[in-house]
Each structure stands twice: as C-alpha cells, then as structure tokens.
C-alpha cells in the first residue's frame, strides 16, 4: 500500500517540488510557494465545486433550523424532513465532501514532500535517496538550500512571525466560511473551534520545520483569495458572531462574478429554493443574497 502511494502520488509531487527548486534559482522557499499555487490552480475547479456546494447547503440553514425547532423531540421525523428538504432543493448533503476527498491525497503528498525534501537529519537525507527520480534537474538541487528570507526551512522559525502568520491567516479563512449560529450552545462551540484551530496550528508552527509553516501560510492566503472571489466578499468575517434580528442586519457587499465564476446549476437551484423558503418563513438570514 505504501509502495503504491509513494509511486503514484508522493514521488511525483516530491520530484516536482525538487525540480521546481532547481528552476527557481535553487530556492526551496520559492519552490514551496510555486507548487502550492500550481496545485491550488489545478484543483481550482474542485475547490469551486466544494465551495458552491457548501454555500448551497448554508442557504438551506434557515429552513433546517426551523425543522430542528419543530421536530426537536422527534429525531426520526427530523431526519426524514431534513432529507426531504435536501431532496426538494436538489442538494446532495455529501456533495461538498467528494471534491475535498479528491484533493486530500494531493495535499497530503505535498505536505509529505515538503517535510521529506528538507532532509533535516542525515537519516532523512539518506531516506530521500529512495524516492528521487534520476533526473539531473532533481540531482542538482539535492541537498536543498534551506535558507529563505529569515528562515531556515528545515528548522522552526525562531522569531514567531510565521506562527502569527499561520494563526491569523487560518483564523481569517475559517471566519470567512463559518456561519454565525443562533443557538447559544452551537455558537459557543463554533467560536471555540474558530479560535482553537488557528491557535493549535500556530503552536505546531513553533515546533515544525518552517518550510511546512510556509506552505500553510501560502495555502491559507490562496484559500482566502478564492473564498473572497467565490462568495463575493469577506463572507462571515465582517459579520458579528451573534446573529441580530433580521431587520438590523446589513447586506454583505457583493461582487460581480465573471462567467467562469458563476455558481453551478446546483448552487443556483439551491439558492433559488432558499429564497423561496426564506420568503415563506418571513426570515432574511441568508448571507449570499445575489
């Protein structure tokens, strides 16, 4: 299994990363940034699909919350009604998962490649030899030049700057996509997660090689940019974490999307369904009111 993983996914990513290092004037920092951008661009259609599915799911939230209130004491009925709602809206609740599952192996391979390519110890370097192609462009870069800006990429950042960057970018990205909850319990849980995850990753940064933290920062920034253009703004980042009555909420500024960025048919349908549902229930809690 490991052999198969190495041959099909890990080694192509690893060797591409090292080859990029040679191309980019023997600078592994640039190679990490470049490969993260390339992978993000290649996976962009999947990311878009995932984001739109999530958005469509979120647009059903008002109706779902109503159902939760209505059938709070009957879980079986709640499940039935929830599924019915999804069916009527034409949404597969697992629809936002599969694009993520497809992307996951690539991200894991990229993650592994950065860690392995840095070869911080003699054992790591020796281990690297078993995963390299016999390309001259790869051989030229090994062992990699680990200096980038103020960082030694195989060592943690001594100046905490990277930890702060990882924490802040992750928080922004997460805040943009996390819908404020009305239920106090759920709200507290959401707030905790939104804060804890960036903090946790900032902590990891203090002990992990800074090359990996660089990848997290770049990946988060690209994620923020994609999110910004897909949702047409800063999403929930500019929203208060506690929902106020609908009349006091201001609409989120929206951006005009290009043809390529137009929502998919599923998302459009879900959005329309959501509007109908909102109209029916007399509420205006949806965030993407395009």
């Amino acid at each position: 299994m490991i052999e198969l993983w190495n041959t099909i996914i890990f080694e192509p990513v690893l060797n591409s990363l090292i080859a990029l290092c040679t191309i980019l004037v023997d600078n592994f920092g640039f190679a990490i940034i470049a490969l993260t951008v390339i992978v993000r661009v290649v996976l962009f259609p999947l990311t878009m699909r995932q984001t739109q599915s999530t958005k469509a799911m979120q647009s059903l939230q008002p109706k779902l919350q109503e159902l939760q209130k209505k059938y709070a004491k009957n879980q079986q009925k709640l499940q039935q009604e929830t599924m019915k709602l999804y069916k009527e809206a034409g949404i597969n609740p697992l629809g936002c998962l599969w694009p993520m599952l497809v992307q996951l192996p690539i991200w894991i391979a990229l993650y592994q490649s950065i860690m392995r390519a840095l070869a911080a110890t003699p054992e790591n370097l020796l281990d690297l030899s078993q995963h390299l192609y016999s390309w001259q462009i790869v051989a030229q870069a090994v062992p990699l030049n680990e200096n980038f800006l103020w960082l030694q990429l195989s060592q943690p950042d001594r100046y905490l700057l990277l930890a702060i960057l990882v924490g802040v970018t992750m928080w922004v990205q997460q805040k943009m996509v996390t819908a404020p909850a009305t239920d106090p319990k759920q709200r507290s849980m959401t707030q905790m997660t939104t804060l804890m995850m960036p903090l946790m990753f900032a902590m990891f940064t203090l002990s992990f090689p800074s090359g990996l933290a660089l990848y997290w920062v770049v990946s988060n920034i690209i994620g923020i940019v994609i999110q910004y253009f897909v949702t047409g703004g800063w999403g929930y980042l500019t929203m208060p974490s506690v929902l106020k009555p609908a009349s006091s909420q201001k609409p989120i500024p929206t951006r005009k999307l290009s043809a390529a960025q137009q929502p998919s048919k599923i998302a459009k349908k879900a959005s329309e369904q959501s509007k109908t549902l909102q109209k029916d229930s007399g509420e205006k809690r949806g965030l993407f009111k395009r």
Partner: protein
C-alpha cells in the same frame, strides 16, 4: 481549506512511509563506526554514549564492562535554565547523537557530536582519556589531557556528521556550519579554520600535507594542512555525497547525480567518472589499483582506479549505506537490510552471506578475520568472516 490542512496533518502521520520518527521521517540517531587503539575498540552508540570494549573479552563472553572496558554518556551543553513555551517547560538538556566514527591516538579518543538545540543542529569535539573514562571521573580531566572544543561551556560548532581525520598532532573536522576546523590534538586549541560556504556532512581526508573536503555546495577543496590555505578547489554539477578517499594521486568520492569521481589530487582535474544507479553514499575503498564502491542502487562496484572501467559488480538485496572493508583478499559489505556479503575481492564471487538481523548503516571495521558491525537495533557484533559465524553480540540498550 482548514479542514483539509487539519486532516492532512493527521493523515500524513498515518500514511507516512515507514521509518518512524514522526512526520519528518526518521529521527536523528547516529551511525558511528569503530576505531581501534591498543587492542580496544571505540564507537559512539545511537543513544549518545561512547563505548570502549575489548573484542577478546567479548569473544570469551565476559560480562560488560570487563577489564579496560567502559561506557561514557556524553551530555550536550545545557542551555542556561530550562526552555519554557506555551505548553510548559522542557528540560534544558538535549539528546546527543554520534554519527562520526571516533579517532584514537596518543592515549586519547576523539569524538564529534550532533545534537539539536534551539532550532538548529550543533556539535562539539571531545577528547577522552581511556584511563579517566575507565575510572568514571568527571569529564574533562585536564591532567589526562581531556578537552572539549569549543572550550566555552555554551559554545558549539555546527553539528558533526563526518568522521574526524587525524594526522600527526592535528585533528581535522568538517562541520555543518560549513567550516573545516584544525585542532591541536593535545590541548584542543584551534590551529586554523576554513569557511567553505555550505554544510559539510562528510569527512575530511588528509594525505601528504593536504586536507581534502567536500561540501553541499558541490565544491571539493584541497587545503594546506599547515595553515588551511587553499591549494585548489573545484565545483561539481551537484553536491558531494560520500567522503573523499585519497589513494595514490587520486581522490575518489560520490556525488548526488549518481557519479563516482576520480580527481587528480595535485591539480583537482577530473580523471574519470562512473555512473551508478543511485548515490554512492558509502565511502569508496581503494586497494591494489581497484576502487570498491557500495551504491544505494543495491550494487557493489569494483572499478579500475586508473581508468574507471568496471571490473565487476555484485547485486545485493538492499542499498549499500555502510562503507565496506577489505580483509585479506575478501571484500565485506553489508546491505541496509542487514545482510552481510563476503566477496572475493578479485572477481566479486560470493563466498558466503551472514545475516546480522537488523538494518546496518554504520561503516564496517575489520581486524584480521573479524568484522565488527554496529547495527540499528543498538547492538554491536563480531563476525568471523572465514566461518561466517556471528561470534558475539553486545546490545547496549540495557547497559547503564
């Protein structure tokens, strides 16, 4: 993408290729070989200790430590006070690893260390007196000429991975900080240092007043052993993977583009190069006009030292990491999987194989018919190459 990043982190740990040591791959452990002096063998263990053992006492099955045998735990220089972070405080002491094979002369045993401290890898050079270590006295005993370089308690050089090279009254060290240090063997004082500009993870070689050393910038330097002045330098297309070995008027070494080079020791001009299927990581061994080179492509090559023409090759079951040895007309090599091959040096015919029982990365050492192996299961053993019998084994994990 946050869930992706978090999931990646967890999943990474699960699918990471085997080798242990967490998400970054194998953790540093070391792979010291053996040095012999006055009938005693010295090696650095994978837990940062220096062992002195008498091979004959091991053969007789005497409980360790027998007479003249000892073990000394090297302590990395502790930072002043413990290091505190958001998750609590960690002790100031750090684990020491020993990659370099000790050197021994004039009643002193020299060891280079490797330890990770404050986000970087550092090292020190220690000179130990066998008698003071045998008596368990507090290190360093000045009267016994023991010393540590740098002399400053909190000082350090870059981590030492290559072996130490001894020549008369000087010891030469290549360091991860990119410098070559020449130290006085008796007092440990710095005679000279030379900045190469990039990491040195291989050993220097000394011959006829010249120190040869390669760095990870792909440069090979020839320095005067007297004052460290540059005689010549060459730049190769890729970095240097194995330590240079000087024989006759040639310097032999492997590079990361899978070549084994022969360079003229006087001018630095390339004589020939031979392409293998992977890195020549193990140091080549040269005798009677033949270069024996173990390669990570699982092969052992025998090449004509003058022309670089292949004389024979032997295919092993796994990469050859550990430097082979010659004893009599036999070439002994061990693969990473722990399979030892006893080959005829002349034609490469396989005489016998011996299973060591664990992975081997440390260089082999031979004395007469015995070959000594330091395996990854934290055991050392003596193998009689004539009979193919593992005569004794000493596992040091249980030794205090």
């Amino acid at each position: 993408m946050l869930p992706l990043a978090a999931l990646s982190l967890v999943a990474f740990s699960c699918v990471a290729p085997s080798g242990g040591g967490g998400c970054g791959g194998p953790a540093p452990q070391g792979w010291s070989g053996f040095a012999s002096y006055n009938g005693t063998l010295y090696f650095g263990s994978m837990d940062g200790r220096v062992f002195a053992f008498d091979p004959s006492a091991r053969s007789r099955g005497v409980t360790f430590p027998g007479e003249g045998e000892w073990v000394f735990a090297i302590e990395a220089p502790a930072a002043p006070g413990s290091m505190c972070g958001p998750l609590g405080c960690a002790p100031a002491s750090v684990a020491v690893n020993i990659y370099s094979t000790p050197a021994a002369a004039d009643n002193l045993v020299y060891v280079g260390t490797y330890y990770v401290k404050g986000g970087g890898a550092e090292g020190k050079v220690l000179a130990m007196s066998p008698s003071a270590r045998g008596e368990g006295r507090v290190f360093p005993v000045r009267k016994e000429n023991e010393w540590v370089y740098p002399h400053d308690k909190y000082g350090a050089v870059g981590a030492i991975v290559g072996d130490l090279a001894l020549d008369e009254s000087t010891i030469y060290i290549g360091s991860s900080d990119g410098k070559v240090y020449a130290l006085d063997t008796i007092y440990g004082d710095l005679k000279w240092e030379f900045e190469t500009g990039d990491k040195i993870w291989t050993s220097p070689a000394v011959k006829d007043g010249i120190v040869y050393v390669g760095n990870y910038e792909g440069k090979l330097y020839a320095l005067s052993s007297q004052d460290g002045s540059l005689r010549w330098e060459i730049e190769l297309p890729t970095s240097i993977a194995s330590s240079p070995v000087v024989s006759g008027d040639s310097v032999f070494f492997g590079t990361f583009d899978n070549y084994l080079y022969a360079i003229d020791s006087a001018s630095g001009k390339e004589k020939w190069r031979f392409k293998g299927g992977n890195w020549f990581w193990a140091n080549p061994v040269v005798k009677d006009g033949v270069v024996y080179a173990g390669c990570l492509d699982h092969r052992i090559y025998a090449l004509d030292a003058r022309a670089g023409i292949e004389l024979w090759q032997f295919v092993a079951d796994a990469p050859i990491v550990s430097t082979p040895v010659l004893t009599g007309n036999l070439l002994i090599a061990v693969s990473k999987s722990g399979e030892m091959y006893v080959l005829e040096a002349n034609g490469g015919a396989l005489e016998r194989t011996v299973s060591i029982g664990s992975s081997v990365m440390a260089p082999l050492y031979a004395e007469e018919n015995m070959v000594y192996v330091h395996a990854r299961n934290r055991c050392v053993c003596g193998v009689d190459v004539q009979s193919g019998e593992k005569v004794w084994e000493l596992c040091y994990s249980d030794i205090d």
